[in-house]
Amino acid sequence: MDLRTLFLVLLVTLGLLGLFALKAPGPGGGSSAPEIVGIEFPEEIEANGEEVIGYVAFRDPDGDIVEARFEVVEATLFEPFRFDPEVQGVREGKFPFAVFAVLPQDVTLRVVLVDAQGNESEPVEFRFRVVGELRPPPGGGILPLPPPQP
């Protein structure tokens, strides 16, 4: 086998290997997973349905985060949510999120960031208390209900 033949065989082999690597599903294909650096959110919010803004600080060498996922770990009535934080091209920074509740309760959420390759950050949990009086409108009820106790 001369050198040219050997080279061609090597080239074809590498080509096949490359093709296989492209087709095979892999976690991230070598890109880096996003990292949650911190979460800013008040420890207490009012049970009045008003949106309260928080921030997720992140780091992502690839700058290709496409989804922020908020899972419910503990709550009485709170729906999990997800959205595109629109930080494509940003490697380090923070983005806002909004939360509302109309029911006094303790809520624990778990945040996960997902990049365009499907890489997921390590989850980070945060907790807040929704406070307020669970009370019917004036004239509509009779009970003065206290807020939940710690």
Partner: protein, 309 residues
């Protein structure tokens, strides 16, 4: 020749590397739509309904999240942790909470109007619920299954007797009011003219629809999935109202497109059936299962301030 071949080989390797890198970057995930909107219909619309129900009957809360009005016996046998077995007078009570069967160490708890709490065992063999919802649901004495029942909130005394209940008593049973709200996210709810309530499972819910005849706007038909609630006028000449999922209200005369049938969630064997024209005589209100997002949730705020590198 060999040197040239090595160069070609290296170039090929670099090219594959570039291709792999590009390939890795060409499979983005589908973007998710923005979610999370402020509520338009929430617990403030629901709680008064439960308070009125509690003024006319006891409220049973099941572990599956359903609720039903009914009446416990006047005297409830109770065995405290230490001390003699005795009968509790229902007039002394605010609520009873049954031991969670998954918690081996849990005990039944009885909350008194004074704010005191008793721990022990309720004798459920004598613990039956009397169901008197309306003309359309047969009055029955039904046994309570310890495995299924979470708690019973006792009927509130009339306005003159409310002072007997200490604030501490309400505070202790506060979580049960949350359970009432949770129930409307799991089941549809019927409110009877007596103000009593019951979580229900409609037969053929997907096909359930209501027609509203408005003297101003004409006739419209709404599927149950589009509605938050139906309010039936109780006096002759009172208009009915449809409350839509988006919070809008429309008034007129409401009829169902077909007869409405189903079963009580708490007791599958207890069924109901209303003729499509007779709903307003049988019911005061239908509250359709509410999405959890009306009570709490969130979303992104991409228009807000952002810091980047």
């Amino acid at each position: 020749m060999a040197r040239s071949a090595q160069k070609v080989f290296l170039a090929a390797l670099v090219a594959w590397g570039v291709l792999l890198g590009l390939g890795g970057g060409m499979s983005p995930l589908p973007l998710q739509a923005q979610e999370g909107r402020p509520p338009v219909f929430g617990p403030r619309d629901v709680l008064p309904m439960f308070f009125r129900a509690l003024q006319t009957a006891d409220l049973l809360i099941l572990r599956d999240g359903s609720v039903a009005s009914g009446s416990l016996p006047d005297r409830i046998p109770f065995e405290p942790l230490a001390g003699e077995r005795r009968d509790l007078d229902r007039e002394e009570l605010v609520a009873v909470v049954l031991a969670d069967p998954e918690e081996a160490t849990d005990r039944d708890r009885v909350y008194l109007q004074t704010g005191e709490r008793l721990t022990g065992t309720l004798n459920l063999e004598a613990f039956r619920m009397r169901l008197e919802l309306g003309d359309s649901v047969e009055t029955k004495e039904l046994p309570l299954d310890r495995e299924q029942v979470k708690a019973v909130l006792l009927r509130l005394p009339g306005r003159g007797g409310l002072h007997r209940i200490s604030p501490a008593a309400f505070q202790q049973v506060f979580g049960l009011f949350n359970d009432l709200l949770v129930s409307v996210t799991k089941y549809d709810l019927l409110v009877f003219p007596t103000q009593r309530v019951a979580s229900v499972v409609f037969e053929d819910r997907a096909d359930l629809a209501f027609t509203l005849e408005s003297p101003i706007f004409g006739t419209f038909t709404f599927a149950a999935r589009q509605l938050a609630a139906v309010f039936f006028g109780q006096e002759e000449g009172d208009p009915d109202q449809l409350l839509l999922q988006n919070g809008d209200r429309v008034s007129g005369r409401v009829t169902a497109q077909e007869d409405v049938r189903g079963t009580l969630a708490a007791w599958e064997g207890v069924s109901f059936s209303f003729s499509k024209e007779g709903l307003r005589e049988e019911l005061r209100q239908i509250v359709f299962r509410m999405p959890v997002r009306l009570f709490g949730g969130g979303g992104g705020r991409p228009v807000g301030p952002r810091e980047g590198d």
